[in-house]
Structures are given as C-alpha cells and as structure tokens.
C-alpha cells in the first residue's frame, strides 16, 4: 500500500482554512463596523433627543418667566402677595397662579416619551437698602430676591435640566422721604433784617390782594393743602403731608390778615371745627391790673373796664375798613412795628385756607409772625359785651411811657356803640400811670408783635377753642416741640421701623437711583418706549433717563404711573393722573420747569435744583407734592395751590398698594 508523502499531507485543506480564517476576520470587522455604525446611529438619536429635551427645558424656563411676569403684574395674585410678604429665608417654593402650567403642557404634552417639568422658587430675600441706614429713607417693604426656575425637559431617555436665576426687586413707586411731604424745600429763602424772604404778599386788612399794588409788583400766596382730613384724632397730623422748610437759617412767615377765604389767615387762631374767620380772634385778659377788677362810675354811669387782646395778621392798607370799631383803624399796626418792618405777608400759606384749613407738621426752623393788639374796652350795661374801645394800648419803649399821658391823652368821651350815645370818662382816673403804674407793668398788657413763634403753634390754636395761650394738644409733649429743626425721625408704618432718621437737609435724591427698574439712554428712547402719539404715558415703574433733559408734552395723560428719574431738567405742562395711579417726576441734578397751562397731577422733585415757572402769569396748580432745593419766593407771582396726594405717603398702611414687583430681563445664572 502506498502512502501519501508527508508534505502533501501537511498541505491538505490549507485553502479552506485560510478562507475560513479570512471569513472570520471579515465577519469580525464587518460586525465591528456595523456595531459602530449602530452606535453612531444611537448617538445621533441621542443628540437629537438631547437637543429636543434641552429645548423643552428652555421652553419651561421661558414659560415660567412669562408666567411670573404676568403674575406680578397683578398686585393681588398669589405670586405677588407671596413675594411682597416673603420673609428672609433660604429657598422656598413660589406660589404660582392656578393652572399656570396648562399652556405648556398643551404645547409639550407629557408622556412617556417627552415632556417638561418646571418648578419656581424664591431665594435670597433681603432688604433693598441697608436696614441700618435710615438717613436716606428706608422702606421695609422694598426688597430684593432671586427667582429660581428649575426646568427639566425629557425626550425618550434623554433628560436635560436648566436652572435659571433671575433677580427680582420689590419697589414702592413713590419716592422715599419726600413723598411724605406736601412741600419740601431744602434751601428756602431765609428771612432776616435784610431779606423779606417769602413775605411778599401785599394785601389789605381782609386778606385780599392790595388793589393799590399792581399785580406785576405783587406776589400772591401759594396755599398748601396737606390733606383732606381734619383734626379728629391725636395722630391726624402724622397722616398729613408734612412740610419742610430746611436750611440753616430761620424762615419767618408773616401771617396774612383777615378771613378772606383764599388768603386770610385768621383761622390760625381758631378751633376750625367751629370756624369763624369773619373777625380776629380776641380774648379778655383774665389777670388785669386792680383798676380793671372793679366797676367804676363816671358821669352817672357804672362802667366796667377790661383789657382785651386781638390776634391779627399783616396787611399793607386799611382803606376798606375805615370803621371806628376796627381795632386796626388809623394804621395802628404800624405803631407796633418799626419803619423797616416789611408789612407784606407770607406767600406761603402752610395751613391751607380759611375755607379749607389743613394743619400739618412744619419741620425746619419755621416761625410765624403776627401782632397782638391790646386795648382798654368798656362795658356800660354790664352784659359782658364791650360797648366801646377806650384806647389802644400801644407798644412803646420805656422811655416813651411817660409821654402817653401827655401827648396821647385819653378822650373824655367815646361813642357808645351799644346805645348809640357816648360814654363819659374821667381822664384823671384813666391815666396810664393810674391804670398800670409803671412801664414794666404796662408792658405786660400792651400790644406786642409776636415775631418768632414756632409755626406749629397754629395747630394748637386751632384746637384751643379760644383759649390763649392754647394748651399743647396737637403735638406730643415729649417731642422737640414745636420746631424740631432739620434732624427728625419719620415713623414708618405701624409695626415697622422708622422710615427716616437723620438730617432732612442731607436728603438730595442721591439714593433714588436704586429704585429704578428700567434705564433708558435719553429722552428719545424714553418717548419711544413710554409715550404714544396721544401723549399717553405708560411707565409701570421707576424709569431712569441716564442723560439729557426731558420735555413732556402738554396735556400728558398717565395710563400707567410710576416715577421718572432724569439727570437733566424736566419740563412739564398739564398732567392728568387717574385716581388709581401716581406719578413722580424727579430731576436728579437740575430743575423742574412747570408751565401750569393746567393742573399738574404729579409729584415734582428737584432736590438739587428748583421749581421754575414756565409761564409766570399762570398760577401754580399742583396735585401731588413738591420737593425742591430752592423755591424762589417770587417764582410764582400769580400764586397757586399745592394739594397733597396722600396715596404717595410711604408711611401710610395704604401705601403698600404702590409696591410693584419687577423681574430682571437677564439671568444671574443659567446652568444646564
């Protein structure tokens, strides 16, 4: 038997094995290739799913931002209330309006394959300003916080979570400190020996403008109405718009004579709830010299004499009341004033008018001036009512006291006004020296010019019901009554800390910037964004104009209020603001120019400038408040009125309605 050679046996089947080996390698490579392809394909799907999930997540963030914005537009929404009432805390869920996620879920329906989950929280709640710094006004309701939006989108197995943090700010649309004041003047025109200050109103004895003084040479008063409320409660004055006439020097305001309804200021001396401004306030001296304490009989008539005092005001003429009964007849007022005294009265009437008395707190070194006339009166029939004025008790220096009996002797008889006849007198018994003794005693009863009485004393007069001097009722005895100067404390709302504590002279608006929630470059951008062609203003917050002036159109109508902070001069003319809105126009560095072609319903603020009149023939007609560095005494020669808008008062409980919540348009943090 022949066997196969050894070499052949070794070669047998090699090709098959090679082919099988090659096939195996190819199969492995092919499988690897396919696996990689499949893997890439899966990754391609994942890329899409991931992008889609991220888009869902970002949709959730956008939806939450829009929903929060919509919710905080409504001051009564659960979201707004939760933000306003939020205490300092870590992270707390933010309540959102019911059903707020429905639109999102309709757009991206939740399923096993895709969907989005959104959560909104509030963190880092804190005060907007340093709570220890009360010198620029602090509103405890003004806060900062951060809204945290966590949105998770998913698509198939891919999940993406986006976390976005946006700052929010809770801002009171009224400006701090100055909004508490009807009138706030940091540097008023002072009154001293050389300056008339605000005493430029020439009026007759009734309080009406002096017809002998041309209108062009006269300055009519600006009357300030601090509120509509009366003096019903002890704290009423706190609720009113206060008045601040600051500066380092004194401001002395001459009270206007008479009871004329617009300008007369007799009412300063009355309980205005039983107001009688037809005649000056008068009272009998209840501790006269002995002569006046018993009746006397002259010419067969028993007569009782008394010393009566009457509180008057200033005036330039007495032509309209040439009446012997008039205690101011014959220009007697001048007897009490030296020749250099300015006889004009104040162009600032801080307590309203006789028809609408409006007492308030007057801060600063503010005084009023008025004369008190004294006279000897006689009562013939014993009915307690004077029948005639025997003689005015002129204010004379000691060296002239002896002259009174010789050069100014008493008349022998005076008209008896009650009977129409005359009253006989005994001159010997009626000499000044007989009645009073010496000048020192006389000086306690003679007429006097009260030239520096704290202005707030008038509030006590108005409660005194005729008592002189009045009891201190209107102000807390513990206070630095009644002229606290410029360092004051403005209490906050009930249960809250003080709104302000410091020197009002230092309030210059430099802290107002922090309240702005929108900043525009200039007037052009402001008008593009907030004004329409029909002069309707839609602010909705505190808007700052970074540079330049702002000239508002005549007949501005406020649809959505707020405040405008402008670096330059603001010019305004006639503004209508509805009852549910407020508007503050604040020039941070310059002036406010008001033409007063009609009423301006706004707060005008220029704490480094002044209020200028664009049309001096027009009356100032302002409903809101006025806060300036300077208010020139003759800036408004036609006078006018400032009526406080109590809704601006940041210390009233109702002021919480003026808070608005704002969310920034940029994120503090965006994290995927």
């Amino acid at each position: 038997m022949r066997t196969l050679p050894q070499g052949r046996a070794a070669n047998s089947g090699v090709v098959l094995w090679l082919v099988l080996g090659l096939g195996t390698v190819m199969a492995v490579l092919a499988f690897t290739f396919y696996t990689m392809v499949r893997d890439q394909n899966v990754k391609a799907h994942l890329i899409y799913f991931s992008l889609s999930a991220q888009s869902h997540a970002e949709s959730g963030v956008n939806h939450a931002i829009d929903s929060v914005r919509q919710a905080i537009l409504d001051p009564n929404s659960v979201t707004t209330k939760a933000i306003l009432d939020s205490p300092p805390a870590g992270v707390a869920p933010l309540p959102m309006p019911e059903g707020w996620l429905v639109p999102l879920e309709q757009f991206i329906p939740a399923s096993d394959l895709a969907g989005v989950e959104v959560k909104v929280a509030l963190e880092a709640v804190g005060p907007l300003v340093d709570p220890d710094n009360l010198s620029q006004g602090r509103d405890p309701g003004e806060k900062t916080a951060t809204v945290v939006i966590t949105s998770t989108g998913y698509h198939r197995g891919s999940r993406q979570t986006v976390v976005e943090r946006r700052p929010i700010r809770i801002v009171n649309m009224a400006l701090p400190v100055v909004s508490k004041f009807s009138l706030f003047v940091r540097s008023p025109d002072p009154t001293d020996e050389t300056a008339a200050g605000y005493n430029r109103f020439a009026n007759d004895i009734t309080g009406s403008p002096d017809p002998n003084v041309p209108a062009s040479a006269n300055v009519h008063p600006v009357v300030v109405y601090s509120d509509e409320e009366g003096l019903g409660g002890d704290d009423d004055l706190d609720k009113h718009g206060w008045i601040f006439l600051g500066g380092d020097r004194e401001v002395v305001l001459n009270l206007t004579s008479g009871g004329e309804y617009r300008f007369g200021q007799y009412f300063h001396f009355y309980n205005f709830l039983a107001l009688d401004t037809s005649r000056p306030a008068a009272f009998l001296n209840d501790a006269p010299p002995p002569f006046f304490q018993t009746p006397h009989t002259f010419a067969g008539q028993q007569q009782r004499f008394a010393i009566k005092h009457a509180l008057y005001g200033y005036f330039t003429i007495d032509q309209s009341r040439d009446d012997p009964q008039d205690m101011n007849r014959d220009g007697v007022l001048r007897l009490y004033l030296d020749t250099t005294t300015n006889m004009r009265s104040s162009t600032l009437h801080l307590y309203g008018s006789s028809l609408e008395p409006s007492p308030t707190r007057v801060l600063g070194r503010v005084f009023h001036s008025y004369p008190i006339y004294s006279a000897v009166t006689v009562d013939v029939d014993g009915d307690g009512v004077r029948d005639g004025v025997v003689r005015m008790l002129a204010a004379v220096p000691e060296e002239q006291f002896g002259d009174l009996d010789t050069t100014d002797a008493l008349p022998l008889e005076i008209p008896n006004l009650s009977t129409g006849g005359t009253i006989g007198l005994d001159p010997d018994s009626m000499h000044y020296s007989t009645l009073f003794g010496d000048w020192e005693a006389y000086s306690r009863y003679m007429s006097v010019l009260v030239d520096r009485e704290p202005y707030n004393t008038a509030a006590d007069y108005m409660r005194s019901q005729g008592k002189f001097p009045p009891d201190r009722e209107a102000f807390d005895p513990a206070e630095d009554y009644p002229n606290p100067g410029t360092s004051v404390e403005i209490p906050g709302r009930e249960g809250e800390s003080a709104h302000f504590k410091g020197d009002l002279n230092r309030v210059d608006g430099s802290g107002f910037d922090r309240k702005s929630v929108v900043t525009v470059a200039d007037e052009t951008e402001f008008k593009q964004l907030f004004l329409d062609a029909t002069a309707q203003l839609r602010l909705g917050g505190v808007v700052r104009i970074a540079s330049g002036d702002l000239s508002l159109p005549e007949g501005l109508r406020v649809v959505d209020g707020g405040a405008v902070l402008c670096a330059g001069t603001i010019t305004v003319d006639r503004v209508t603001t509805p009852d549910d809105q407020v508007l503050s126009l604040c020039s941070l560095e310059k002036d406010v120019v008001a033409s007063f072609g009609g009423k301006i319903q706004a707060s005008l603020v220029a704490l480094k400038g002044r209020l200028r009149s664009g049309l001096r023939s027009r009356e100032l007609e302002l409903e809101g408040s006025l806060a300036v560095d300077r208010l020139a005494a003759d800036e408004f020669p036609a006078g006018g009125r400032v009526v406080f808008d109590p809704r601006l008062d940041p210390t009233r409980p109702e002021s919480k309605e003026l808070y608005r919540v704002y969310m920034a348009d940029r994120a503090l943090e965006w994290r995927l």
Binding site: Q40, L51, H56, N62, R69
Partner: protein, 153 residues
C-alpha cells in the same frame, strides 16, 4: 508527479470559493446596511443641528422680530417660500435676519409659529429629508416669550 502533489485540488478551490461566497453575502449586506445607517446618522445629526440652530435663533430674537408679527396664528414658512432662507429678514422691516446653514440636498426646513396671547409664541421647527427614497423628519419645539422692556436692574 511529486510537484503535482504539492498543489491544491480543484475541489479544494471550489469549496473555498463556495465558503467565501457564503460568508460574503451577509458581510456585504451588513456593510451595506452599515453604510446606509451611517448616512442616516449623518442626516439625523445634520437635521438636529439645523433644527437647534433655528430654535436658538428664534429664542434670541426680540419678540417683535418673531415671525409672524400680528394677529396671525399657525403660519408655516418653508424653505421654498424664501422667507426662511439665510439672510432673509425674520419679519419684513424688522432688520433682524436669519443666519441659517445651507441645507444639504433633499433637506427642507419648516417653521410653524403659533401666537398665544400677547406675550407668548409657540414655535415648532421641522426638518424633513429623504433617505434612500424614504421620507424622514424630526421636530423641535420651543416656547418663546416677550422679553422685558429694556435691560434693567
């Protein structure tokens, strides 16, 4: 004769060819599928990027520049309309333009925008293409909301 003994028999070669053929059929199929899937992967990634590109641009646009402007809902813009082309204004006169990558052959791009209230739009971007004669598509959704008035705070 000895030299002949060292070679391969015809049968061996025939068997090898048969075996190789049997092996190559699935391998070629696998390779073909792989190449096709690779193209699908490329297409899908491209489509996802095209969709993401448009969605992100929409999100970055000012609200007033979002198509459509005005009380219109459910408007669809297509590649062919020219409005959704690279360089086209998002809204005529807005000054804002699309910056879109060129579409590969067989690709098209659609945008559907629905107006929801005055501060919200819902955008759906759809990318369509064909692969081996079969239509393919993917969509991406985004809620778009009105931006704040101005940079603030």
């Amino acid at each position: 004769m000895r030299r002949l003994d060292t070679g391969m028999t015809f049968v061996e070669i025939l068997m090898a060819v048969v075996v190789l053929s049997v092996l190559l059929v699935p391998l070629v199929t696998l390779m073909t599928t792989g190449f096709r899937d690779t193209q699908a992967t490329i297409d899908e990634v491209q489509a996802a990027n095209l969709a993401g590109e448009l969605v992100e641009q929409l999100d970055a646009l000012p609200f007033s520049a979002l198509p459509p402007e005005g009380p219109v809902s459910g408007v669809t813009l297509s590649t062919q309309s020219g409005s959704l082309a690279d360089g086209a204004e998002t809204v005529p006169g807005s000054g804002f333009r699309f910056h879109l990558s060129a579409l590969p052959p067989t690709f098209s791009r659609e945008l559907s925008v629905r107006r929801v209230g005055s501060t919200r739009r819902e955008a759906v971007v759809t990318i369509r293409w064909t692969l081996n004669g079969f239509p393919r598509a993917l969509t991406m959704k985004r809620v778009l909301v009105k931006d704040a008035i101005l940079p603030t705070m």
